[in-house]
Assembly symmetry: C2
Homo-oligomer: 252 residues x 2
């Protein structure tokens, strides 16, 4: 059994309900969006139009919770450590499985996560530190009812590290690719004191630069803004671990 398969089994059994960040390094991690087939076409077109925040790793067959291409035999109803449930845009209590919510109309979208390249960054001399999540004033391109601002992750690094990060993540086109911005947060509408996730910041520490990547939470935000009757997502930081090897999914 591979480390990814072992990890998913532990999650399926409920033995591991914590975040997948820093876990199972080297495997492609994905954000999950489950919605009904009624909304699936507009949503996939939304992803196609916004490939930096919404790189689609896999779309399951309607009603089938198995991601046949990226993790054969996995079950997306049980194999994530924790799920976030939204009804009409409002988050209910998290769950550790979604067996009772999955129907014959359900479609799962796996959207590449920036966690995927953390391990490669580390190997290249850019150690993982704190990351932040921010909403920007960059608008995504709408599709049907889906629209909204791009959400980004922010990492702080030295100028030298930021160059390495641009080089390296530019090769990870299937999991957000190169940064979408570097430097001044305000110029993309970010108030450092108002992160979605991460500690509030008064200012950027001297000698460090903020580097921003399009984030796979963007489509989930859009789907929540649409107030779909039911939207199932991974709980933040509790991404799905695929069998795909991150270094093999990037451009060599």
């Amino acid at each position: 059994m591979t480390p990814a398969q072992e990890a998913r089994l532990a999650m399926r059994k409920g033995e591991w309900t914590g975040p997948t960040k820093h876990k199972v390094p080297g495997y492609v991690k994905c954000n999950l969006v489950v919605l009904s087939k009624e909304h699936a076409y507009d949503f996939i077109v939304y992803c196609q139009r916004n490939p930096k925040p919404c790189p689609l790793i896999e779309v399951t067959d309607i009603g089938n919770p198995e991601p046949k291409m990226s993790a054969p035999k996995a079950d997306l109803r049980t194999d994530l450590p924790k799920y976030a449930i939204y009804r009409n845009g409002i988050r209910e209590d998290d769950r550790t499985d979604i067996i009772n919510l999955w129907t014959d109309d359900s479609v799962a979208f796996l959207i590449g996560s920036g966690m995927t390249f953390d391990d490669a960054l580390e190997r290249a001399g850019v150690p993982m530190t704190q990351t932040w999540l921010y909403e920007t004033n960059i608008q995504t391109i709408p599709s049907g009812k889906f629209f909204g601002p791009m959400v980004v992750t922010m990492r702080l690094m030295t100028p030298q590290q930021s160059i390495i990060a641009c080089q390296l993540t530019g090769r990870f086109v299937y999991t957000h690719g190169a940064p979408i911005h570097i430097g001044d947060p305000l110029s993309i509408g970010i108030d450092l004191q108002k992160p979605i996730v991460g500690p509030s910041l008064a200012d950027i520490p001297k000698g460090l630069m903020p580097v921003f990547w399009a984030c796979g939470v963007t489509p989930q935000y859009s789907a929540i803004a649409c107030k779909l009757d039911l939207l199932i997502a991974h709980a933040p930081a509790h991404s799905f671990v695929t069998d795909l090897i991150a270094d093999q999914l990037c451009i060599p």
Copy 2:
């Protein structure tokens, strides 16, 4: 007016009905597939599952023939030099516009064409010569009713040129990317004497290697095999010219 806009205008007026190959170098060229919204979801999932042959550059809004993102103000009903029309999988006479065939239910898919990197290959010392189109025994991953073999383009080059071609086209991930095969045609089921397009070949000339790229004709082949009531495509080699700059769409 840019060279791409001028070219499209000439096509719209019917002043240019020839192939777009070798024309307007440097712009991203696209294969066209138009089908009705009834089939659009299965088809876009087919493209998502087969990104090497079917890189989606744009999907238009249902009923709207304007590719807003890749060629604003263009009209996909008139701005290609020649269209191929298939009814129940059978090709009718070509047309120079599709105004009478486009309906409120029509959706256009623009699929990146390998012609896009010809110019960059030439600049890198790999001059364009003859290309061939072959059907392979590699099966695409099905979605709904769409399935079928991968179609490839073949170029012949020296071993040194083939290395450059791998390096260079690997960066063009949005227009087929790196080759899918190099060397022995038979190992992917190709009979050199039976090309779809190009002269029949007895053998590979000494000193040259065949290099194969996934081809954007693949989804069209699949749609024809499905015998959709109506499928509109570009006529072979008469691709759509977008405003996107090829060198800017690739990984720098």
